[in-house]
Symmetry: C2
Subunit: 405 residues, 2 copies
């Protein structure tokens, strides 16, 4: 939908395994950074949307996660709304904050995404990720995989996330259909590792060669560990304001959220376009732009093959050309259309509920020319793609959001 | 905030312990009833907001609860947003559906509240309810109560919900301060039992005398079991449409959601007004009405004393006069201002996430003159009060919503 929300400030924690920080500390840190970045106070907030996915199953904290974070900070007497959409919880929160300020229902609204995914008992983290699928279907799938050789090879079962099995099936299909290679998947991971090495807030900061990615521990063919996003904790926040408020604040070169399109893909038939493509085509049309107008992209590379699929769905290249696109260097910093300059989910990390807003943090800083060593010269249009709740090759919630300066 | 959303259709399951029905079945039934009531098809939906509180901890289904319910019904390719605000999850979903159609962002939006709270392992239900408090503070409170005589008497601990301890403290305070009696609390329960006996969708349909309420099993002084809402399962749905769509559909006597005010109360100081009162005063002002203009009220009687406190906060009587108000019969069917004609949470039941929308179901049917044996003659203005996430005497999320014909 068409929106007109100005990003007044952004902030995020480093994404990492944070054994010493819980949901409250991670959330607070992100909010304080975003509020300070906006030059506003907590008392200016008129509403807050909080995206989280896993706290219920990881920490036992359900239902009032936003209040539990914001109340000790003194934020109250405003609507605090907890939203959840698996890995797209953060962008769902952002969308609703943008709706509030775009429609004039509020002038200053917080969007917070936060996740405490790590737990001394790893089973809790895996159970939480499993909760983002249809649990009835999941149980059937676990039984299927356990009975198959892929399952035996990958050690599939409830002892780890099954998302990577889903991604591996899509990757093998792309290889078969288009001749995409395992090396090309490794190029995505190596590129994002290079970007992540430049990002102080990334969970994984080592640069990696294509050879190192290929030599990493196998997960499910063709995925190695370096082609899969890590489990981690973190928070990311954005303060959105109305155009009226932005003028009052004298924001000189505002970054605007102009469009966000959301669809659920679970009912898609095979002969219908991919849900990323559906969201993207609607978003481009609403924004009156095409893929060639986009300066910088943050997309949902929960696995390396997912990035290649998204290149195609977002129209950055023709169908089947995703492998060649990454091989050409076009999506690397300095290339024609840099993708995941933050390091992406693969290297910046993927604390589920925080991811969608962390993408907005990166794009805002890019469009404001303050991305430091990761700066894309002359960035004017940013695109974020964030999806959650996998089933087959599609998502329960997919969002494509466009930011412009 | 001011809204202009037309209720095109409503529907709900019977609230009950439904051992044979899960989240999907309960949600589907409510949605099908609401869609049929609206005379629309599922394909007309442009977005859906789904409120649920406990599925994560009760069933393991997190993150994509709405999709899991709606996808098998063929609802996809629209934004499906999962919202959570403890016992106020349903009204939070309704508010957002109303925002979408009031602002013209959509013409037909579903609000669904659904809860599968019962489980063969009762501990799961209690853990889920505990997740609606600050779990860190909860653990401290359990320790305190276990050490106190009230705790010993009431059997407090993680083996049952602590919400009733919180309500009992408020009840004893009201008795001390205003001379409210245990009999008056029992009158609330007996009145709502009478109303519930007339409601085929109520979980508890026995009529109760004041004496029977007082003689029921003690929970925490002054509460007996009949003064506490039961644990149950259910779903409730409303289809909201824009004014434009309502005209196109030719809805003859539309019921409109004109105002919904939401606040978080956890930061309230003792010298500040109760959060119910804060929401109500803003809602009355925005709607341009006063308490005397309200025809029928559905309020959050999770316990009988809560109803008396809400009478006062909603301005149905002066502070301290809530006990006398129920004793006068004014809030009984046929009285000046009937309250909880559905039976309320006490008797209709309280499947947490469904409650806020079930209130809208009752009020809509009242304002449309189709409430059968429970009909309030000439009802023109309905008020719903729904709160969630208790801490002390205040809520993490409180909503007051006004409907008018």
């Amino acid at each position: 939908m068409k929106l007109d929300a100005v990003v007044a400030g952004v902030g995020m924690t480093r994404f990492a395994k944070h054994p010493d920080k819980g949901l409250k500390e991670l959330g607070r840190e992100a909010v304080e950074l975003a509020i300070a970045d906006a030059g506003l106070g907590l008392a200016d907030l008129e509403a807050a949307y909080v995206g989280n996915c896993a706290a219920g199953l990881v920490t036992g904290q359900e239902s009032v996660r936003g209040q539990v974070i914001l109340h000790p900070m003194g934020v109250g007497k405003i609507p605090i709304v907890n939203v959840e959409n698996a890995c797209a919880s953060g962008s769902t929160a952002l969308l609703h904050a943008a709706i509030m300020v775009s429609t004039g229902l509020a002038d200053v609204v917080l969007a917070l995404g936060v996740e405490k995914l790590t737990h001394p008992d790893k089973m809790r983290s895996f159970a939480a990720l499993a909760g983002a699928m249809d649990v009835d279907e999941l149980n059937a799938m676990v039984a299927d995989l356990a009975a198959s050789s892929a399952g035996a090879e990958g050690g599939a079962g409830r002892d780890r996330s099954l998302f990577m099995d889903v991604y591996a099936i899509a990757a093998r299909d792309h290889m078969r259909r288009y001749g995409t290679t395992k090396e090309q998947f490794a190029m995505v991971a190596a590129k994002n590792a290079f970007h992540g090495s430049l990002n102080p807030r990334a969970q994984l900061r080592d640069a990696l060669t294509v050879e190192q990615v290929l030599a990493d521990r196998p997960i499910v063919e063709p995925l190695t560990r370096a082609m899969c996003s890590p489990i981690g904790d973190g928070g990311a926040a954005a303060v959105l304001v109305s155009g009226r408020k932005a003028r009052a604040l004298g924001i000189a070169r505002p970054v605007r959220v102009t469009t966000s399109v959301m669809h659920s893909g679970w009912t898609r038939r095979d002969d219908e376009p991919d849900t990323v493509a559906l969201c993207a085509s609607e978003a481009y049309e609403e924004a009156g732009i095409g893929p060639a107008d986009v300066s910088v992209v943050e997309l949902h590379d929960a696995s390396a093959p997912a990035e290649i699929l998204s290149y195609e769905a977002l129209g950055l290249c023709a169908p089947g050309d995703g492998g060649a696109l990454v091989a050409s260097g076009a999506t690397r910093l300095g290339g024609r259309i840099p993708v995941n300059t933050s390091g992406g989910l693969l290297r910046k990390g993927h604390p589920v509920g925080a991811t969608g807003i962390a993408q907005i943090v990166e794009l805002t800083e890019q469009l404001q020319g303050r991305a430091g060593a990761r700066q894309v010269a002359g960035a004017r249009v940013g695109l974020a793609q964030n999806g959650g709740g996998k089933k087959g090759n599609d998502a329960a919630a997919m969002l494509v959001t466009i930011l412009r300066t």
